[in-house]
Symmetry: C2
Subunit: 221 residues, 2 copies
DNA sequence: ATTTTCTTGTGAAGCATTTCACATATTTGA
DNA sequence: TCAAATATGTGAAATGCTTCACAAGAAAAT
């Protein structure tokens, strides 16, 4: 027979991807601490995971370790940054300059990981034209016109839940394929748009549940 | 025989608890929209889940629906709020009045879900004594003395990663059993303390991975 | 050089979660 | 009143994820 099977793109679980972020962070610290190599055991301990989990996660992407020795810290960190796509910088627009939005403009962690907020939008006339960390707030009406010419590839949405769907529709129309939403609402987007939700109340609700039910979770993110 | 088995506390998955939060939110909207009942199908559609999932989740806690009709919106919402422990208010302290911390003090969603931030702490002399939304910032040195008398049961931690572990140690010593951590670091706490992490960069990294790998995630939070 | 120790990478086993499918109960409509 | 339609609740099947356990490779020790 000519061909056995289709390319078959392997599906990586959300958990694995999140753990890659943890490994990346741990490896950054390990490098600072002067370690040249680290074992799956050592890495696991730092993030409260199991060595097998670490090895399995990494094995989805290749063989990066040396038997008897472990993983080279810097090399592995670089490899993970490639996998996650953070070996480059991303141009991000932030829509909604309220409480949360303002905080995110100044949030250094984004910058550090290569997520550069380079554009701000709001619909409030008092905010439009004002300057936040060197960026002038644009009118949200210009969203469609201003995103593409500025090479924006991601949008962080920090607007009230009531208007989030309208705005996300505009964002999608503007061709953006990745959105991080802080509004506590389930937004509808086409299948080819990646949407992640950051729902901070949800985590407090989880804590509330845990306290009330004295619940020991099986797995911890 | 006298006794068959031990009480056997059933373990609920993290995912189920998170979905309860989603159901709660959806039911709140449904009530506002004037619906008296909703089917598992209807509820599922609102949160992009399957009807079977909704029914299974709820079945862990009891039988709340009527065959042929669905679930009573208000009743189910109240029941879920009981399960999650948000049928009461929680007194929360916020430690770290930086970018994120300041935003969270004003974040109305917390208030709405019954999480009342009633105490603020910082170590910066310029911030101590200042007023945020009617709350005077206390010196972090007084953490141990001021949490218990004020009946604080949860702490939101929004301090730099470098000092987070020291502060969390104090928080634990003060008897707090539930902590929501915004610092991008893996904090060590005793087994009887519930710790949740809110890592906003992680979600951007997920989006980055998705864009680079054109990855369609299997399950979405 | 050889043995011992260490540690990876990975099928397979073990669990956990989700989905299926259907008996059962209730409502709706004729 | 009865049939048709609707929708729950739940074992069982299917799927997915984690852990186990070990062969194999490399380093360290002797």
């Amino acid at each position: 027979m000519a061909s056995d099977s289709l390319p078959e793109k392997k599906r990586i679980s959300e958990s694995t991807i999140h753990r890659l972020s943890l490994y990346y962070r741990a490896l950054t610290v390990l490098e600072k601490e002067g370690f040249e190599t680290v074992s799956s055991k050592g890495l696991a301990k730092r993030e409260k995971l199991t060595p097998a989990q670490v090895r399995k996660d990494l094995s989805f992407f290749g063989s990066f370790g040396t038997r008897g020795l472990g993983y080279p810290v810097v090399e592995l960190r670089d490899k993970i940054s490639q996998i996650l796509g953070i070996d480059r910088s991303w141009r991000v627009a932030l829509v909604g300059i309220g409480n949360i939005g303002s905080a995110l403009v100044s949030y250094k962690e984004f910058q550090k990981q290569g997520f550069q907020i380079v554009k701000l939008f709001d619909n409030d006339q008092r905010k439009i034209g004002s300057n936040h960390k060197g960026i002038v707030v644009s009118d949200i009406k210009n969203l469609a016109n201003e995103l593409e010419p500025d090479n924006i590839e991601m949008v962080v949405l920090a607007v009230p839940a009531t208007v989030a769907q309208y705005i996300v529709d505009d964002i999608v129309k503007a061709g953006i394929k990745a959105i991080l939403n802080f509004a506590p609402v389930n937004l509808k987007v086409p299948d080819d748009v990646f949407l992640r939700n950051e729902n901070m109340s949800m985590e407090l609700e989880y804590l509330s549940f845990a306290l009330v039910n004295d619940h020991i979770p099986k797995r911890v993110r």
